[in-house]
């Protein structure tokens, strides 16, 4: 039987069966518009408000601080543009390794006249709190730093950045899409982005946590749903599913298991496949993230060979991206293009087992070996890092 080893959980996770069950009544049975004043509408309204309460409880915040959106990208857009349009002018601090949802929004805000500082990161992909401190000016209105990086898994010093932001009276947003499982609830943060499709919940749903004391300008105008911050009839099954998924993620004990599997895989691959190295920090990384560069070969080729063997991964190679550019994250951590082309991201999940990983390592050795036999290049140390 063909293997089916999905190692792309950072792209998206499968929908949990319990989550699916929780959503099912809200498609055709409890279909009413939560804005309707009749009994069926009221019943649905009550269900989404209960979901909001649950989400708030898990995040240790108030229900009126949770805004349901269409996903991580919308939440990040609402956080950044919402603050910027409210303040009308000012300076924003972010990092070079943010998700495009933040980076491209910042570029757009720059086109409107806002100033943006893109902090550089060290070779392990960690943002220095000292750099954030130095970047603060009198005009700074917002700091937006991701909780953990989606490509190399590095977890950022969010707690310290939050303290710094608060001390300076600057709003702080964190994109925590990859980090729901490792979220520290005792942090000073004004805005948090989360989404359903990364936590075994449905796609097309996310939240923005917004501190009740701050004002945002909405992006979507209309019927005034979600405290007038996100108009449009609510994605009811999505909201119910998101709350259930977040509840399950906050309760599960996966981290410990995943960290063991992650470290086992990294150690074995680096030992058994010469001319390979880990991207990101060795331990200060998401429990499920592995990102390894294999020298002298190209990522799309590796990915497609693994694909044929029933192993599903992703790559930071330029050849696989729509823009034909290498990953901006690998570029930011100082990898030269030569070496970045051969990077593969393996992101583990609930279904991942040790025998699966042993199979992956075995096949990976073969694939890397055969592609290297075809390759005319042999990178030197100076071709690897800038």
């Amino acid at each position: 039987m063909k293997k089916n080893i999905y190692l792309d959980h950072a792209a998206t996770t499968p929908l949990d069966q319990t989550v699916l069950k929780s959503m099912q009544p809200y498609f055709s049975e409890k279909f009413a518009n939560p804005g309707s004043l009749h009994y069926p509408g009221m019943e649905v309204k009550e269900a989404i408000e209960q979901a909001r309460e649950e989400v708030a409880k898990i995040l240790n915040v108030k229900a009126e601080e949770i805004i349901f959106t269409s996903g991580g990208t919308e939440s990040a857009n609402l956080a950044l543009k919402g603050v910027a349009l409210q303040k009308k002018k000012g300076h924003i601090i972010t990092s070079e390794i943010e998700h495009p949802a933040v980076l491209d929004t910042c570029a757009y805000l720059e086109s409107l006249g806002f100033k943006v500082t893109y902090l550089r990161v060290g070779k392990e992909g960690i943002i220095s709190v000292e750099d954030v401190k130095k970047a603060i000016t009198k005009e700074t209105i917002l700091i937006s730093i991701m909780y953990a990086n989606n490509e190399i898994g590095t977890i950022q010093p969010i707690k310290d950045i939050g303290t710094l932001a608060k001390k300076n009276n600057i709003l702080f947003h964190t994109d925590a899409c990859q980090a729901a499982g490792v979220l520290d609830k005792n942090i000073n943060v004004d805005l948090i982005t989360l989404n359903g499709g990364k936590i075994y919940g449905p796609k097309g749903i996310g939240i923005l946590y917004k501190n009740k004391n701050i004002q945002l300008t909405p992006l979507i105008h209309g019927g005034g749903q979600e405290l007038n911050l996100r108009s449009g009839t609510e994605n009811v099954p999505g909201i119910i599913g998101f709350a259930k998924a977040l509840e399950l993620v906050s309760k599960d004990k996966e981290n410990e298991r995943l960290i063991k599997l992650r470290d086992y895989f990294i150690e074995k691959v680096l030992k058994e496949i010469p001319r390979s190295f880990l991207n990101g920090h060795k331990s200060n990384r998401l429990p499920n993230n592995i990102n390894i560069s294999f020298l002298d070969i190209e990522g799309e080729s590796i990915l497609l060979h693994l694909n044929e063997k029933g192993i599903y991964v992703s790559t930071g190679s330029a050849c696989s991206s729509h823009k034909l550019e290498i990953s901006h994250v690998l570029d930011a951590i100082g990898l030269k293009h030569d070496a970045a082309h051969g990077s593969i991201r393996f992101t583990l999940g609930k279904s991942t087992t040790k025998p699966d990983l042993d199979y992956v390592i075995k096949e990976l050795k073969e694939v890397v070996g055969s592609l290297r036999k075809l390759s005319p290049i042999h990178l030197k140390n100076e071709d690897i890092r800038k």
Partner: protein, 145 residues
């Protein structure tokens, strides 16, 4: 370049971005060196050698040819790059063998793409470079003879 003509629109039914011909050459590349000894041996007796591309750009191709009576009798290669780069060099090696020097020089990227049954348009510029490596190998041969 008339890229549109050979454009692969979307994915094939199996969900693949590439044609069956690309897959065949990517998974079972032709005219490759099976061992290091084979590479060294072929290198020693090759009549022409050419290389093109750079590791930073993500594609490097090299071609070795043997020529007899103005006809390419053997053509071997190595490629660093994505699936379309590997497949296009592989199919080019097949196209080159049996051709006269003059014919082989005329092979264009479009000919390679056509032979592969098409490539995604964005892949053509960067991954179909083999014809340049072949031409360099032929020039190398000509300069020696």
């Amino acid at each position: 370049m008339s890229e549109e003509k050979y454009e692969v629109k979307g994915y094939s039914e199996k969900g693949w971005l590439y044609t069956d011909k690309v897959k065949e050459h990517f998974f079972n590349p032709k005219n490759i060196f099976k061992t290091d000894q084979e590479l060294e041996e072929f290198k020693k007796h090759a009549d022409g050698y050419g290389t093109v591309g750079s590791p930073a750009c993500g594609d490097v191709m090299e071609m070795f040819i043997k020529v007899k009576d103005n006809i390419i009798t053997a053509c071997k290669w190595r490629t660093f790059g994505c699936a379309s780069a590997i497949a296009s060099t592989s199919i080019l090696s097949e196209m080159a063998i049996g051709k006269t020097i003059e014919e082989a020089k005329k092979i264009t990227p479009q000919d390679i793409v056509k032979e592969l049954g098409g490539l995604p348009p964005r892949k053509i510029h960067c991954s179909v470079l083999g014809d340049q490596a072949l031409r360099k190998a032929i020039e190398d041969y000509e300069s020696k003879n």
